[in-house]
Amino acid sequence: MDLTTAQAWLKRFFALIEEHKAYLSELDNPIGDGDHGHNMARGAKAAEEALQAQTPTSLEGLFKSVGMSLLSKVGGASGPLYGSVFLAFANEVKGQEVIENPQQLFAAGLDAIVRRGKASVGEKTMVDVWSPFVEKLAEGVSLEDVEAMVLATKPLKATKGRAAYVGARSIGHIDPGSYSSGLFFKAYLKELA
């Protein structure tokens, strides 16, 4: 994946966020504070504007720009988490013209999420989608696989983030951050296809 394709990937992701904005916030209602879609859409818009204002000339520049936009505009828990992902991506692709090792890239993103949020697998956070995605990437992941990973957050009981306040009542709801992460991976897979 080169700069142009990576840009198309992120553009696709931002469009998916905008499209699913209401649904993402709806998912956040029963187990959080109903703002995840709006938080993410605010960030996506800012990121697009920043990319328009200054066209990046490298993969590193692209990821850095998006990371900074998300950091300063999303807020909430997901802002620093997604922001850290993109800053880790930027670090990973330093000097690269094409993404040489996608698995390493996504692993660096997951690592950033875990370092920041200190969640482990099974706590009903985006880690529950990132972790299996990174694991499966080497052997090949399909859109259906991603769908299944997102749905698998439904029966989990949240012990991290706002959803932890409702404890057992979080069971039976898809985790919104996992859903938006699913959109991120789907955009990636579609761009490669």
Binding site: L71, G75, G76, G79, P80, L81, A164, Y165, G167
Partner: protein, 329 residues
């Protein structure tokens, strides 16, 4: 929705401007950032900052001034501030001895403040922090992110602020916070919800004759809904839980804070504190200091919270009683 405002999306901006103008003898706005800092220089002292979502006024900016916070950072209503804005507060507060951050335990706040710490340290500013989690309402909260930072946080602002003013180092403030935090416990209750201006509708629903114990300052769910009951019964329900958590015994000294959530008259707050003080007397626990009023609100939520701080160290009382120059302490 019936509120005194111009446009919902401008509330935080205009409130900040209003505070800065009205209290320009104490605070000023740092450029066009989301930060209010104190006018008092405090050269060479550790800076003390706090902040979080707006809607909890007078927290946090009301506690900025000599002897308390150096600066406060404003998020949108009920939304944590972003790292770049927290970093602005760190820069404004740094007078060469580093900056200590008091963070309330919400994932968003913790993550954004920690990122700001990384940014500041990359620029050579020493930063340390403590995380307040005085709300003991959520069950199993020890094993999750469930313990929220609520009204008891203002004791931390005040006591650390006193020591920062006296010249305590970052390390000393950290050590003090570790002693202090476990001795502060809070539980809230709600009679009616708040409305976030940009959402325009209540965050939760309560029937006319219902109250909810354990509610958070953003309307997070509590642990029990019951029919409206006399103040004495509400006071007992909460006091018993706090007393047990603090392992209060006859002869102990406590500081009492009855905190209005924004929509509860002082008249009712005093009725409630009277019941709390009765319960303390019965247990032979002495109230060394009692505070009543709106300190950490939840917009116009009707309800209140009770905080007890066990005075393990008598010096904490002197730190609380020392005069400060702030808008709201």
């Amino acid at each position: 929705m019936k509120k005194i405002l111009n446009a919902p999306q401008d509330v935080v901006e205009e409130m900040m401007q209003g505070m800065a103008e009205a209290h320009k003898d104490i605070v000023h706005r740092v450029g066009s950032t989301r930060v209010l800092a104190r006018n008092y220089e405090g050269a060479g002292k550790v800076g003390l900052i706090s902040g979080g979502g707006s809607g909890h006024e007078p927290t946090h900016a009301g506690f900025v001034g000599q002897g308390m916070l150096s600066a406060a950072v404003f998020g949108d209503v009920f939304t944590s501030p972003t790292p770049d804005q927290v970093y602005e507060a760190v820069k404004a507060a740094d007078k060469g001895a580093g900056v200590f951050m008091v963070i309330k335990n919400y994932t968003g706040d913790v993550l954004n403040f920690e990122m700001a710490k990384d940014m500041a340290e990359a620029e050579g500013i020493d930063v340390d922090f403590c995380i307040t989690k005085d709300d003991i309402a959520v069950e199993d909260s020890l094993y999750s992110d469930g313990q929220r930072g609520v009204a008891g946080t203002i004791f931390v602002h005040k006591i650390l602020g006193y020591h920062a003013e006296k010249g305590a180092s970052l390390k000393e403030l950290k050590a003090l916070s570790e002693k202090l935090l476990p001795e502060i416990k809070t539980i809230g209750l709600a009679l009616a919800p708040a409305i976030v201006p940009e959402q325009g509708k209540p965050g939760f629903e309560l029937a006319d004759d219902e109250i909810e114990f354990g509610i958070g300052i953003h309307g997070e769910p509590g642990y029990q809904r019951v029919k409206l009951q006399p103040s004495q019964a509400m006071a007992k329900e909460i006091y018993d839980k706090l007393s047990k958590a603090l392992q209060l015994q006859a002869g102990d000294d406590v500081v009492v804070l009855v905190n209005g959530m924004g929509g509860t008259p002082l008249m009712e707050q005093y009725v409630f504190v009277n019941d709390v003080l009765e319960l303390l007397k019965k247990d032979n626990v002495s109230a060394a200091k009692t505070m009543v009023g709106d300190y950490m609100t939840s917009i116009e939520m009707a309800g209140l919270s009770l905080t007890l701080m066990k005075l393990k160290d008598k010096a904490w009382l002197d730190a609380l009683n020392a005069p400060v120059d702030t808008i709201a302490w």
